[in-house]
């Protein structure tokens, strides 16, 4: 029963930046520091309307004071390749697609392809498997639950409890059914006289309980559904016994006892719902738990009867009936699924029983659907006539209904609540701590400490410690860069004009790294922009020890400091700044600025520091408006104005070769040993989001 609710464990859609919220079309990219900021932060003023991100259309973003565009770098996880592990584990599906995989090599990566949404991640989200020497993303790693805990009281819940009690906190942690804010247990003061005068209701009902759950955000309280508690603790247990309105309900155990006392027979649904007429047998309203219990005992009786009498029905019908839901075989299988008892199954498997009859009375678990909606309709009309409020607002929204916990005391199927006035407090869903495994070698990539309150990790192999970070900045040299057009919206790139960006690669590892970059000459998609990497091949110095750096720094300042230029300490304007390191000229051509003073030169590094190197990339953005008009391809879609450049990054370095290392046949690591050192390489696609292209021209 509880299994219907998924644990709130880790929703990939929420953590994956590129996945869009289907309801709003908004890019769900909340986390990370380098994220596009306010456009993704949801805000809605109405507490009842709890849809998460405010629907923002691209036009809104554009016309209203626009959210500043933060350049981003997303990296493509190799798991999205059609045949990621083919060399190791060739499976049937991979082989079927192998021809497609081969010509995948010839194609450049298209960041706008629908599939790319699922494979691009910011660096923070990526892990790194040290054994496979490969990037791993949240989508491809295997997760294992380390522990369950309640996000409100932060108590750990043992996994055995999860099986028996379900995936919600069974202490006193509840969320408001209206606004999902936390509910607090409050004492209702009864004795003072003025209170009594002011609110006679309180005094009247105070005998039933003196604690309530109340929401301090929207002022909802459990008195609205007529529920008060005797004790301030173990609210969950008390609430399970209370119906809306405050009537007590029999728990399963109590009902069993009562049935025993009555000696079987009809054990109708406790106090009964106030709307139901309990007189007529077939109309008796059973709550979900009672109905299930009745059905269960009925079918158990049936099974044992059938098994006892052997083959009752005709041969042909018996054989046919084994296919339907009423067949004893399928029935016992279903029951063992839901009740977890396998004893029935064993008994039955020996003899092929015949037909059985279905439940005929509420005592046997028969529940007639009540399709009569008149009461709901009159209630809806009453809201409008009595309170003058909009009746629609008194009905529960889909999200409110969705967040309701399954309540065993509810009447099933057709008795679901439709009004906000009958929503029940929501016990907090449990959260989990999870460890991650490499999908291929099964080594653990990330493992948090199992204690709920600690934030340390035992293992944490993150990609940021292995591959260079890329930061993007627009290059504006006064005098050289043409001044921005006056009619250009701020924070946009002018179309059809060369714009230059500085890409800074920061090396996290202790070896110097050789980087080779490649991009297609024009960006894929409807609006091809021309791209030139001015220096596609360069080196980044090693990430030396911080102490070493500090010592160098001291030396530099102590001595004349001019000699130490190459020691490269201060990154910005400091003595370590080094322009135009001489490297092999790359294949980039056609840059108009080549050879000019001060401007970026082809084949030369722009700047370099201790463990970082900057290069320049030149872009001539396509004109959105012209292209769209000329091709007649319709309007510009959402985010099509963002200038995204796919870039292939290949990094090579020499690492200390571990002796017992057996290299997997991956491209990421090749033997080639010389003197304890070993050449390593890693190659991946990434996407540079440079900015929005202006929609002028």
């Amino acid at each position: 029963m509880f299994g219907n609710n998924r644990l709130p464990a880790f929703h990939p859609g929420l953590t994956q930046s590129r996945i869009r919220d289907t309801t709003t079309g908004n890019r769900l990219w909340f986390p990370g520091v380098r994220s596009p900021p306010s456009e993704s932060s949801p805000s809605d003023s109405d507490p009842a309307n709890d849809q998460l991100p405010l629907p923002i259309t691209p036009e809104d973003l554009y016309d209203t004071p626009m959210a500043p565009f933060n350049p981003y770098t997303y990296i493509r996880c190799p798991c999205s390749e059609l045949n990621p592990y083919a060399k190791r584990t060739p499976d049937v599906t991979a082989q079927g697609l192998s021809c497609a995989a081969q010509d995948d090599d010839d194609h450049t990566f298209d960041p706008r392809a629908a599939r790319s949404n699922y494979s691009l991640y910011p660096l923070e989200y990526l892990s790194f498997c040290e054994d496979c020497h490969q990037i791993r993303c949240p989508r491809c790693v295997a997760e294992e639950i380390v522990c369950y805990y309640c996000p409100n009281c932060l108590f750990e819940v043992p996994s055995s409890n999860i099986r028996s009690e379900g995936n919600r906190c069974t202490r006193s942690c509840f969320q408001c059914p209206v606004c999902i804010g936390p509910l607090a247990v409050n004492h209702v003061e009864t004795p003072p006289d003025p209170n009594q005068l002011l609110s006679p209701d309180h005094a009247a009902s105070s005998h039933s309980g003196s604690y309530i759950l109340s929401c301090s955000y929207c002022n909802w309280s459990s008195t609205e559904i007529g529920i008060k508690f005797d004790k301030p603790n173990s609210i969950h247990m008390q609430l399970a016994k209370l119906r809306n309105g405050g009537e007590t309900r029999l728990t399963a155990k109590e009902r069993k006892e009562r049935r025993k006392e009555q000696g079987g027979g009809g054990g109708g649904g406790g106090g009964g719902n106030s709307t139901g007429q309990g007189e007529e047998d077939l109309d008796a309203l059973l709550d979900m738990e009672t109905q299930f219990a009745n059905l269960k005992s009925f079918y158990q009786n049936q099974l044992s009867d059938v098994n006892g009498t052997g083959k009752a029905g005709g041969d042909a019908s018996a054989a046919l009936s084994n296919l339907g839901f009423d067949a004893p075989t399928s029935l016992s299988r279903i029951m063992s699924l839901y009740t977890g008892s396998s004893s029935l199954h064993d008994k039955k498997s020996k003899s092929r029983p015949g037909t059985m009859r279905e439940a005929l009375a509420p005592s046997e678990g028969l529940q007639l659907a009540s399709l009569d909606e008149t009461s709901a309709i009159t209630a809806l009309q009453d809201v409008e006539s009595t309170t003058g409020l909009d009746a629609y607002s008194s009905t529960a929204s889909t999200t409110q209904l969705h967040s309701q916990a399954p309540y065993l005391g509810a009447s099933p199927l057709h008795g679901l609540t439709r009004f906000t006035s009958s929503l029940r407090p929501i016990p907090y869903l449990l959260r989990t701590k999870r460890s991650k495994r490499c999908p291929q070698c099964r080594h653990i990539i990330s493992k948090p400490e199992s204690k709920v309150t600690t934030t340390r990790f035992r293992i944490r192999l993150i990609a940021g410690n292995y591959i260079p970070t890329i930061t993007i900045k627009q290059l504006i040299i006064p005098g050289l860069t043409p001044p921005p057009m006056p009619n250009l919206p701020p924070d946009t790139i002018a179309p059809l004009q060369p714009a230059q960006f500085v890409l800074t690669f920061k090396n996290p590892i202790f070896e110097s790294v050789r980087v080779t970059l490649a991009t297609p000459a024009t960006t894929p998609g409807r609006f091809p922009s021309k791209v030139t990497i001015l220096c596609p091949q360069f080196e980044i110095d090693s990430n030396t020890d911080v102490w070493e750096e500090a010592l160098k720094d001291n030396n530099a300042s102590a001595s004349t400091s001019q000699q130490n230029l190459s020691s490269s300490t201060g990154p910005e304007g400091g003595p370590g700044r080094k322009r135009a390191g001489t490297l092999r000229p790359g294949t980039a051509g056609g840059a108009s600025l080549a050879g000019e003073e001060l401007g970026p030169e082809v084949g030369k590094v722009w700047e370099r520091g201790r463990n970082w190197t900057s290069i320049v990339i030149e872009v001539i953005p396509a004109s959105l408006v012209q292209t769209a008009k000329r091709d007649g391809k319709g309007p510009i879609k959402e985010d099509e104005d963002v200038l995204e450049i796919p870039m292939f990054v290949r990094i090579e370095w020499e690492a200390e070769a571990p002796e017992d290392e057996i290299m997997p046949g991956l491209s990421s690591a090749k033997g080639n040993k010389d003197g304890g050192k070993e050449k390593r390489e890693l190659a991946y696609w990434c996407v540079l989001g440079l900015g929005r292209v202006a929609r002028t021209l």
Partner: protein
């Protein structure tokens, strides 16, 4: 301090705190700064809202500790934010309770914080309201414009947004370095260092 001939925008203390001259600190005797904390102009810290009832006579037998606002190291209080200790009825009397901030807490501009406790490495965005007695654990990011309801507990590694705030995501393993505020600390003050790339 005033030894320096040109009066800087900030007062820099021995423990490395940088407090803007234009910040409003009320009841300074009840405000504890852990060191290396930046307080920008127009920040208001209500140290005057100290407990009116002495804390429960437990093991702390020493001098009455009447701290209203305790701030850890490397915190960054942006322009125009307000730190205000929460208050409630306690045994029939209204009293304020202390507000505690851990280390590396960033509080965005225009934000009002009335939490009971904020852990280490917490990023609170701009124009956020943190309700009374909220508890925010470590490595939490509160996005701009959120309204965290009173009494809410936000567990570690959460990303929180909305009105009322709810948990909308998790901080990835690789994202926890971004909470470090050491570099940010260096970029403000009377002789700020440029940001490192």
């Amino acid at each position: 301090m005033s030894r320096r001939p040109p009066r800087g925008e900030y007062i820099e203390t021995d423990t490395g705190n940088k407090v803007a001259r234009k910040a409003t600190l009320v009841g300074t005797q009840n405000i504890m700064l852990g060191g290396k904390t930046v307080i920008q102009p127009d920040v208001m810290i209500r140290g005057d809202l100290a407990r009116t009832i002495p804390p429960a006579q437990s093991a702390s037998g020493g001098p009455a500790n009447n701290t209203a606002v305790a701030i850890g190291r490397y915190c960054f209080l942006s322009k125009g934010c307000v730190l205000r200790p929460p208050g409630r009825m306690y045994k029939g009397v209204f009293t304020f309770m202390p507000l505690r901030l851990g280390d590396h807490v960033f509080v965005g501009p225009g934000t009002v914080v009335q939490a009971a406790q904020i852990g280490n490495h917490v990023h609170i965005g701009a124009k956020v309201v943190i309700g009374e007695f909220a508890i925010i654990k470590d490595y939490v990011k509160v996005l701009d414009g959120s309204v965290v309801p009173p009494n809410m507990v936000i567990p570690s590694f959460s990303i929180v947004a909305g009105q009322p705030a709810r948990i909308i995501g998790e901080i990835p393993e690789g994202g926890i370095e971004a909470f470090e505020l050491r570099d940010l600390y260096k970029t403000v003050g009377n002789n700020p260092q440029p940001t490192t790339s």
